[in-house]
């Protein structure tokens, strides 16, 4: 217990320096579970606490992180027509992915956690763990080349306006991660829309453009050079002929499933070697994460199942209707494209912003799937709907709960 004594000795005073004390408390309770015992009420407590809950969501995302990071590099080299095999040029793809990914991750956490710490110190309570998950989600739903200042502004907006203004963790109405993305979407539309943004390294995808590399790449260059491996210098070619960088959804909007399969095979879309937001692409890895969340009872299986049903029902209805080529995309292939599964596993299941009653969860999930598919297919400006559908249903989830609760109340009063 020597370390504990040392740590206790350097604990800053709560009154003199509240911010430092909050910071210390945050990290101390991270390293050590406190020695508090039950007082009044139950004498034993379940081993589950908010930290453990949140960290399990983060753990469930780790496969998406690994794949997403590598896929940034993979797509980058595909655009140049180099290393078309998935594991060809492994070191270069991984290095490029890390160079893009790490700053995004660090900036999202420094900004978000910084704000969270500051508010906790101001309010005089312990740091709550909400941002552990939001901070891990935000990098996964951003385009790989997002300017860091835009990311910082969007995270700050989401945490301050979306969460702290409502009273902190557990009080927010909208999903924090999605709020930051929707901020980017509406405030800086060019950074998150169009074909160019989903492939890292090529600011515009005009033919003949060359990727430009920075100091981090030169560091890796010297490392790889000394090991007699390929370097980024060899990769400084212009973009391949006919490469557009369009995502499957953009293609589907233009010409339906046929147009999509001209560029991508279903297997590619399933395994995720396609351009898109960093974490959304690989379907099996997302399913593994979702199963982990369901199995550990961290996420509500009701929302996951009902959202899947809702999305599929709407896709089938559109198949029947079939007014546009996009509508005629077979309903089971809708799942292969875009971020349907990612939103289902990690976004819709946020317990704070979802409906809180079990009946409400079925309705909530179903409507997200239903509305999201409408937005995806029938929206000319932006071919993906989950962000807007989830935020929309976040807004309505208290209303759904209200009616479920009122039904319970009137049942009780009626039988009286």
């Amino acid at each position: 217990m020597g370390l504990i004594d040392l740590l206790k000795k350097i604990e800053p005073d709560k009154k003199k320096s509240p911010f430092l004390h909050t910071l210390f408390d945050g990290f101390f309770t991270f390293a050590y579970t406190p020695d508090t015992v039950t007082k009044g009420g139950v004498h034993m407590r379940d081993g589950m606490d908010l930290k453990r809950l949140m960290v399990h969501v983060v753990l469930a995302m780790q496969l998406c992180y690994l794949f997403g990071t590598y896929n940034i590099g993979h797509q980058h080299f595909l655009a140049a027509g180099m290393y078309p095999g998935f594991i060809e040029g492994f070191h270069l793809k991984l290095a490029h992915g890390l160079i893009q990914m790490l700053p995004i991750f660090v900036v999202a956490h420094v900004v978000g956690l910084g704000i969270e710490f500051w508010f906790a110190a101001k309010k005089g309570h312990a740091i709550e763990e909400g941002f552990l998950v939001s901070g891990a989600l935000i990098p996964l739903i951003m385009p790989p080349d997002i300017p860091l200042w835009i990311l910082a502004v969007s995270v700050a907006f989401a945490v301050i306006i979306g969460k702290e203004a409502f009273g902190g963790t557990g009080m927010n109405i909208w999903n924090i991660a999605l709020l930051s993305r929707v901020f980017v979407f509406f405030a800086y539309p060019t950074t998150i829309a169009g074909d160019e943004v989903w492939v890292s390294g090529y600011t515009t995808l005009a033919e003949g453009t060359q990727a430009t590399y920075g100091w981090a790449h030169s560091l890796f260059n010297s490392l790889f050079g000394s090991l007699d491996m390929d370097t980024f210098d060899a990769a400084k070619t212009s973009i391949a002929d006919g490469y557009s960088g369009a995502t499957p959804l953009a293609l589907a909007y233009q010409g339906g499933w046929e147009k999509v399969t001209e560029t991508f095979t279903p297997a590619q879309m399933w395994w995720g070697t396609i351009p898109g937001s960093i974490g959304e692409s690989s379907k099996p890895l997302i399913i593994v994460g979702a199963l982990m969340l369901i199995f550990t009872k961290v996420a509500s299986w009701r929302i996951i199942v009902s959202m899947f049903i809702g999305g599929m029902v709407m896709a089938m209805l559109m198949n029947v209707w079939g007014a546009t080529p996009f509508m005629e995309v077979p309903w089971y292939y809708q799942m292969y494209m875009g971020s349907f599964l990612f939103a289902m596993a990690f976004m819709a299941t946020d317990p704070v912003t979802a409906s809180s009653t079990n009946t409400g969860k079925w309705i909530y999930g179903f409507l997200i799937g239903f509305i999201g598919m409408i937005v995806r297919v029938l929206n000319p400006a932006y071919p993906e709907g989950w962000m807007l559908a989830i935020l929309f249903m976040n807004t309505f989830s208290p209303l759904i709960d209200h009616y479920v609760i009122e039904a319970n109340i009137s049942k009780r009063l009626k039988s009286a």
Binding site: T33, M48, V55, P351, D401, I405
Partner: protein
């Protein structure tokens, strides 16, 4: 009419949408038309069937058949396929209620072996054991005076008829006061051989209810009658709608009620008869259908309505049983009586003495030889556990780990306690304990590998395993409460002081013991029992 309208809308809207598809999809009209017709036929058939079903229900109601319990419609109910079959000892006419929600916490230190008899030196009666009486009741004895078992010790100034009586005979040695001069304990130095106060027991067949009530209030057994809502000592002015008795306890390390009933079958029957004379409604007995058939002492009782329950904790709680059998509605007043209390009431009428003897189970990981002890109400904890505890820092709990009171060896067991649990104090830091705990810990969460070891007995410790947070997780409380109640919304209504919502969400059906398991599983470490008690007190002041 509403139904027809709804169906018309569906058909019309389908037709409406089909126009679009005709216009836009061109080719496969036939396929669409056929499927529409097929859907129409299915709806029609379903409409006819459901009409017939409704008519049968109406006929059934006219004939006086309870549609909740017997299926009289055309459609089989989902429960007909999936419902658990009642065990064969559930007799005809008795209800059977299988529940699925809840959680069984298995703790080490289950009492075994023969019943030990421990007559402790001192006993105490504690006004704090009773909800809703004034903190400074009128004490009618003085320090030094001799009392017999059944002699009154104090009464509540608001309800002076109800006497709170001595469990044993002896000398009153101390009236201990707590915070704000509230009376905490009235301590009796017990006689070796207990002498009982003599009563003139009324004849149950002839006595009228008012006389019976006044006898019960004077003889010391009245405080054993609990009234819901609010879980307080029953009021004299109002008759209860029904009286409920749960004959089994599902809490961790709870006392085996078969031990309690053995030899007391007649007293239990008599007690039930007395309770029957107090209500125009029924006396309901909740029996254990989790395993083997319950003791004959319970299943052969006459004059009561029997209901069998199976499932996990808290299905043994009387509140849960009330909710399933006949829930508290509107201004209903319902009583519940503990198992050993019924026997005490029965003995009062059979033997003419106030016999407050109690079986108490002593269990938990810190007890060297867990056992069942025969003693009296309010026995001294120090004497009960002497030489039987490990040397570590212990938490002695008068009651079970969910609802018991934190106690020391200086304290006494409570009026209604039939259990003493001793577990480890968990006041230790643990490195990354939230992520990689080194000791096994009970949890309903799937993040612990507990499901691999269903029979593992946990040691149990009092660490909170985390800090208090705002409500984040939803659906967790509902998963361990086998009642049609939304606990989280109820708690929020209490915190907001919204009386109408509190009542609507069923606060009147609950007491702390029902919500205790929700508090145990709470990820945000909320003090739910305290919130609920605050809410109940608010409701009571309003009423």
């Amino acid at each position: 009419m509403k139904l027809v309208k709804g169906r018309l809308t569906v058909i019309l809207s389908l037709l409406f949408f089909s126009q679009f598809s005709f216009a836009q999809s061109g080719g496969n009209n036939n396929y669409l038309l056929i499927s529409l017709v097929a859907v129409g036929v299915v709806i029609l058939v379903f409409a006819i069937l459901s009409l017939a079903d409704n008519l049968m229900h109406i006929e059934g109601k006219k004939a006086g058949i309870d549609s909740k319990k017997t299926n009289i419609g055309i459609f089989p109910r989902i429960s007909d396929f999936f419902a658990k079959k009642a065990p064969n000892y559930v007799v005809d006419g008795a209800g059977y209620y299988p529940t699925t929600k809840g959680h069984n916490l298995k703790l080490a230190g289950k009492p075994t072996g023969d019943i030990k008899t421990i007559h402790t030196n001192r006993y105490a009666l504690k006004p704090t054991d009773f909800n809703g009486i004034s903190p400074i009741p009128k004490v009618v004895v003085e320090v030094g005076s001799e009392v017999k078992a059944g002699d009154p010790l104090f009464y509540d100034k608001k309800r002076p008829e109800i006497m709170y009586c001595a469990p044993v005979s002896g000398e009153v040695v101390e009236v201990k006061r707590g915070a704000k001069r509230a009376i905490a304990e009235i301590i009796i130095l017990a006689d070796k051989e207990i002498s009982y106060r003599e009563y003139e027991v009324p004849n149950l067949e002839k006595v009228d209810r008012q006389e019976l009530k006044s006898f019960l209030t004077k003889s010391g057994v009245w405080p054993m009658l609990n009234q819901r809502p609010f879980d307080i000592v029953a009021s004299i002015d109002e008759d209860p709608r029904d009286i409920f008795i749960s004959t089994f306890n599902t809490a961790p390390l709870a006392l085996d009620s078969n031990l309690v009933i053995a030899g007391n079958e007649n007293a239990f029957q008599k007690g039930c008869d007395v309770l029957n004379a107090l209500t125009d409604g029924s006396v309901y007995l909740g029996l254990d259908a989790r395993g083997d058939a319950p003791s004959k002492g319970f299943s052969d009782v006459t004059g009561v309505k029997k209901n069998y329950f199976s499932g996990k904790h808290p299905v043994g709680n009387v509140g849960v049983q009330m909710h399933h059998v006949n829930p508290i509605k509107g201004n209903d007043k319902v009583w519940s009586v503990g198992l050993q209390d019924v026997i005490t009431i029965g003995k009062l009428f059979l033997e003419g003495k106030f016999d407050a003897s109690r079986l108490v189970s002593l269990g938990g990981s810190q007890v060297s030889t867990p056992s069942v002890i025969r003693t009296y109400q309010g026995a001294s904890i120090g004497d009960l556990v002497e030489g039987n505890l490990s040397d570590e820092k212990n938490r002695i709990i008068a009651g079970d780990v969910y609802t018991g009171k934190e106690s020391t060896t200086e304290n006494f067991i409570g009026y209604k306690d039939d259990q003493l649990t001793v577990i480890k104090e968990g006041d230790k830091y643990e490195a990354f304990g939230w992520l990689l705990p080194i000791t096994p810990r009970p949890s309903i969460s799937g993040t612990f590998p507990n499901f691999l070891f269903p029979d593992f007995e946990f040691e149990g410790e009092t660490n909170t395993h985390g800090e208090k947070r705002a409500f984040v997780v939803t659906g967790q409380y509902e998963s361990v409460l086998p009642m049609d109640i939304y606990p989280q919304h109820l708690m929020k209504a209490i915190l907001a002081g919204d009386f109408e919502k509190m009542e609507g969400l069923g606060i009147n059906e609950l007491s702390e013991e029902d919500i205790a398991l929700c508090e145990f599983v709470c990820t945000s470490k909320m003090p739910l029992q305290k919130i609920l008690r605050d809410g109940l007190e608010m409701m009571r002041e309003q009423a």
